[in-house]
């Protein structure tokens, strides 16, 4: 099975160096939890891993093959969940899920498969409901259904529990555990507690160019 690694990564956004000299390595079945204060670059690192932004320096590798050499292939092996849910309001839940699954090889877009995938997040009963009727949490669940409806080894999840209530959060934790048990990898950014047994923790603030102590200035301000 494959290994996903990053070496000496630097990320520059809006003329500012967000992090530099960052290394990581994820084994099959492994997990990485990104933490750090606001603006420390958790989302940026995830987008970098997805190939949405090129690193200013350093490189990503999949089993010793550079990711930048075949971005399309890299796309094929990852699922990315960002801040936006990409749920079309005029399409039903099933249509939404089926569209995204249909873009990937090896996905089963039959209705029964879609219903099963929705069941994983407890929204199988919403299968024929148009997106506009969904609450924020339900939308998020539809978005998360994408990642189980088509297989991909690497899951990149940016604050996936935002807007989820306790029940849905528990469901997501179980799903991630199952994915890892099957040899998948998970990278999660979070401010709150997310259950990820044996996950490596990466604190982004350790890689800032000049570490600032916002906590201090906070204390002074109060």
């Amino acid at each position: 099975m494959a290994r996903f690694t990053g070496e000496n990564l630097t990320c520059i956004r809006g003329e500012r160096c967000v992090f530099t000299g960052l290394d990581f390595a994820i084994q099959p079945g492994g997990a990485l939890k990104l933490v750090g204060p606001n603006g420390s670059g958790k989302s940026s690192l995830l987008r970098l891993m997805a190939g949405l932004i090129p690193p200013a320096s350093g490189s990503l590798a999949w089993d010793d093959g550079a990711v930048s050499e075949d971005p399309e292939e890299h796309n094929g092996r990852l699922h990315y969940v960002g801040h936006l849910d990409a749920v079309k309001t005029v399409l039903t839940v099933a249509e939404n899920v089926r569209f995204w699954a249909g873009l990937r090889p090896g996905a089963d877009t039959a209705r029964s498969a879609v219903v099963a995938a929705l069941g994983v997040f407890g929204i199988a009963h919403l299968v024929d409901v148009p997106g506009r009727f969904l609450s924020a949490g339900q939308r998020r669940r539809v978005n998360l259904t994408r990642i189980v409806s088509a297989p991909a080894e690497l899951w990149l999840l940016d604050e996936p529990t935002t807007a989820l209530d306790a029940a849905a959060t528990a469901g997501l934790e179980q799903t991630m555990a199952r994915h890892r048990a099957g040899g998948g990898m998970v990278v999660v950014s979070t401010h709150t507690e997310v259950g990820l047994d044996g996950a490596e923790v990466l604190d982004l603030s350790d890689f800032a160019e000049n570490v600032h102590d916002e906590a201090d200035s906070m204390a002074v301000g109060l």
């Binding site: 987008r47 997805a50 190939g51 949405l52 932004i53 090129p54 399309e72 292939e73 796309n75 094929g76 990852l78 990315y80 960002g82 801040h83 936006l84 849910d85 990409a86 749920v87 079309k88 005029v90 399409l91 569209f99 995204w100 249909g102 873009l103 990937r104 090889p105 994408r146």
Partner: protein
């Protein structure tokens, strides 16, 4: 190819479900043309003289207006991000979007043009050529426009900026499109103009999706 059709089918479906997309573009087209008789006055011969020009200008403006949202909604709700992460080249995705755009705006414009030609009192000899020229020209408008639509993503001023970017690029089409119609009305050959417009189409077909994808990648950074 099947994934190309997959995207086209979804976008067509969205356009139909969200309803009125095409209808609105046609209505703008009609409104823009209709403004001229108000502005210029109702004299039939003057209107006939400027008819082909006004219809083409209105078609450019209508196409431009509808282009603003070509990628915008997908960008705002996060779909574009996910599309660009699909295991296929971004160029194909752009081409699928352009195809849908033409089907939902270019085609209806072509269908509405004869009605406007009647309203503007255009000489009947020009009708056939007008339709033919629009049929060759509107896909080029959609292609060129896709580059502009990709460039303005995330900028603060959508519509106005887009117009500045793409209207200048539209001018050659306007010139040859109008000249074809006028030639037809005066009884001259229209082949040369139509050939040139066809050339534009052939040139933009590979170039524009490529440029648009480059712009999209930057917008998503």
């Amino acid at each position: 190819m099947t994934r190309f059709m997959h995207i086209v089918r979804r976008d067509l479906y969205l356009a139909l479900r969200q309803g009125m997309d095409s209808a609105m573009v046609v209505m703008f087209f009609v409104l823009a043309v209709v403004l001229f008789p108000f502005g210029v006055g109702p004299e039939a011969n003057i209107l006939a003289r400027i008819a082909s020009g006004v219809i083409w200008v209105a078609a450019l403006l209508a196409s431009m207006l509808s282009l603003e949202r070509l990628f915008q909604t997908d960008f705002e709700d996060g779909s574009l991000e996910l599309l660009s992460l699909a295991p296929m080249t971004l160029e194909v995705i752009v081409l699928a979007k352009v195809t849908t755009h033409w089907l939902t705006t270019g085609l209806p414009l072509i269908a509405a043009a004869p009605l406007l030609a009647v309203l503007m009192n255009m000489n009947i000899d020009g009708f056939g050529t007008l339709i033919l020229a629009l049929a060759i020209g509107t896909p080029t408008l959609s292609l060129l426009g896709s580059v502009g639509a990709a460039l303005i993503l995330g900028s603060r001023r959508g519509g106005v900026l887009l117009s500045l970017l793409i209207l200048p690029l539209y001018i050659p089409l306007l010139i040859f499109g109008v000249s074809a119609v006028d030639s037809a009305i005066s009884g001259f050959a229209v082949r040369p103009q139509l050939m040139i417009m066809g050339g534009f189409l052939v040139a933009t077909l590979p170039l524009c999706p490529w440029a648009a994808s480059a712009a999209l990648r930057q917008a998503l950074e």
